[in-house]
Symmetry: C2
Subunit: 448 residues, 2 copies
Amino acid sequence: MKESLEIDKQLVALIKEDNEQAVKELLEELHPADIAELLQDLDDDEAKYVVAHLDAEIAADTLMELDEDDRHRLLEDMPNKDIAKHFVEHLDTDDAVDLIQELDKEDQEEVLSHVDDVEQAGSIIDLMQYPEDTAGGLMGKEMIVVNENWSMPECVKRMREQAEDMDEIFYVYVVDDDKKLRGILPLKMLITNPSASKIKHIMEPDPISVKADEPLDEVVLTFEKYDLPVMPVVDSIGRLVGRITFDDVMDEAREQTERDYQMASGLSTDVETSDNIWEQTKARLPWLLIGMLGGIANSWLLGNFSGDVLKNAAIALFIPLIGGTGGNVGIQSSAIVVQGLANGSLDIKSALPQIVKELILAIINASIISLLVFTYNLFFGPDFKISVAVSASLFSVIVFAAVFGAIVPLMLERLKIDPAIATGPFITITNDIIGMMIYMMVCMALLY
Amino acid sequence: MKESLEIDKQLVALIKEDNEQAVKELLEELHPADIAELLQDLDDDEAKYVVAHLDAEIAADTLMELDEDDRHRLLEDMPNKDIAKHFVEHLDTDDAVDLIQELDKEDQEEVLSHVDDVEQAGSIIDLMQYPEDTAGGLMGKEMIVVNENWSMPECVKRMREQAEDMDEIFYVYVVDDDKKLRGILPLKMLITNPSASKIKHIMEPDPISVKADEPLDEVVLTFEKYDLPVMPVVDSIGRLVGRITFDDVMDEAREQTERDYQMASGLSTDVETSDNIWEQTKARLPWLLIGMLGGIANSWLLGNFSGDVLKNAAIALFIPLIGGTGGNVGIQSSAIVVQGLANGSLDIKSALPQIVKELILAIINASIISLLVFTYNLFFGPDFKISVAVSASLFSVIVFAAVFGAIVPLMLERLKIDPAIATGPFITITNDIIGMMIYMMVCMALLY
């Protein structure tokens, strides 16, 4: 959409003229995702005007392509009945659930009471029972289901009926008389295998599925592992209850990795460049305050427990080197553990070997770095004793920071706390304080 | 696969007994991704034994599910002819290209010369021309293509022929006589629309596609935006040249975000917890050495330009606070810019407003933090002058670090360098040095 700026101007002009027909024609060819992008640049009244003049299906899909904030602004003054008629009734059940769950509790029931299609309303209510962070919370009810005992021609007839109000179909799910998932029928088979035999003899048996109560991060890993565009969801006794599509999983995967990256960078809530100053401050200040407390604690400890060490100005010169190196090492080892836990390549069961590996790595890195710094100090640094103290401290700080950085996320994972919280400021601050304590103790031991 | 440990033991036992039949039966029901997981726990000879006894299609898919290192170990002593016959001939063209490009240059041609299917070999050679980081580098040639002038029954007949050696089909692509992409035909239409009219009257026209030379990060954003499981790829004049599937895009998206996260954490190459000590050292040591050089430079600058400031031990106490806060602020502002650029929510054109926003945010955060620290120092800190110097320095360091952290990635993006390189150690080190210089200058100005 290189021409989006142009369309944008044209659109605003047409809205001003109240030229309904031209607005419709301009947007007719566009994908809802593109219309949503255009809406972001319009003011509230213009955006509402556009949505009101879209085809109902497109309007509903466009609404769901918007950011939650923008969606909220569009729906704010809209009666609950209109939300039901204009949007909910035209959405797939998984999107409908997302939309309804963004509303206030009292509005939710009212909106649902205005949904005429009883089957759809029932599905939405069913889906709302599942926790948002499970497979059930991501699934929808739109799918084509056939019985294993049907014949192929009967099946095609039933499929035609079910397919009418679905956007896309990639698989047909096969269940037995107890509604238990038995197999899948790739649509390809309709082309290559138009036989008259029973479905159960043609279907691919034992399909890969996820349990409704499976946590979302595992669902993401399952999708990535098996490369399926849609996956069936079953309940605890194997009955087919819904399906999850790859696009929702892709969004979830990006959110997860972005969350990890943000936590590592000291951003405490989900924040974007487009958020306003207040939201940005809320996301950033907490970690900065924790960092500040850490820094103050560090100055207090240094002031009270370093004895006369800091009277020697040459010792202070190396505070940034030692603090910075400890921070860098800690971030590296925690990041690699957090990422391994997130993408499934590291198992909590292999915690001990991982820590041992970090220890060996740390000793190698610590030896190289403390030797290099020692060599530099021999030629350009302060007296010999301080040079020894600096390198001995560096060595200890690197080894401590590496092992600590690996242990903390592993411990959090075992306690079922998101290990990503361990990276970034938390590790840096702790390492800073411990690093200074080590440096001061080594200096006291060697110099006084 | 909760029982994978059990299967693992069973498998090793069966291999020892050389019980071919039982090995085959044990693995028959498994997905290639699951077999690949089992292979990771076997030694080289056992893994080779298993692969040799798998059905050819499954063996080839299993090979491509392995890590590059594991795949390399399996193929190491294999004659090029066998690589062609056992694996390449059974792979989709995009996977075949990946496999061949991992081989040495001289082996590549020899393997290709052993591929009997001339059409497949030709497709592979075509695909190898595209740079790996473009849409062309990710696409495959397996797709069903029909002419817009065919009738539906004719189309179904041709589709049947083409579909035979394809795993899955979700869309049929419609081209004109010049091979230009004109539309798509969702498979759903085969069920709901078995008419006799020409394809061009039934197809969905103007399908969303990507250009073959489009960079991969844009391809990922296009997939996420339009939620399609497969996207057609066209050349510069609109001719259909291939297709990209969502699973390859999901892998690419994860790699991209992991790469950003790793760079932010000071890990310089693609590294995993399972990599050996040497690979891990290679990934970590470079940034630690750069950090070390930064620390040494800092100590040198402090030693030569701070005059008598550090003779006052109370001033040294606040070095960790000022250095740490600058680092935290810089990481926050650079991370949010890097992420915005990566997920498309921030545009390089809005660089100036973004920098102004960072400036305002920084002034808010800087005021709060320097006031809090000043209050603390009034009661518990050293003398009044030093308290003023510390808070004035903190204020300046926060504002500088925030703006600098936003400017650097934006500048890199404009220079077409990956902005992720700006986060993490680079920002921390620069902020550390500048922070100390600011602190020393403020102290000199206020105290001497």
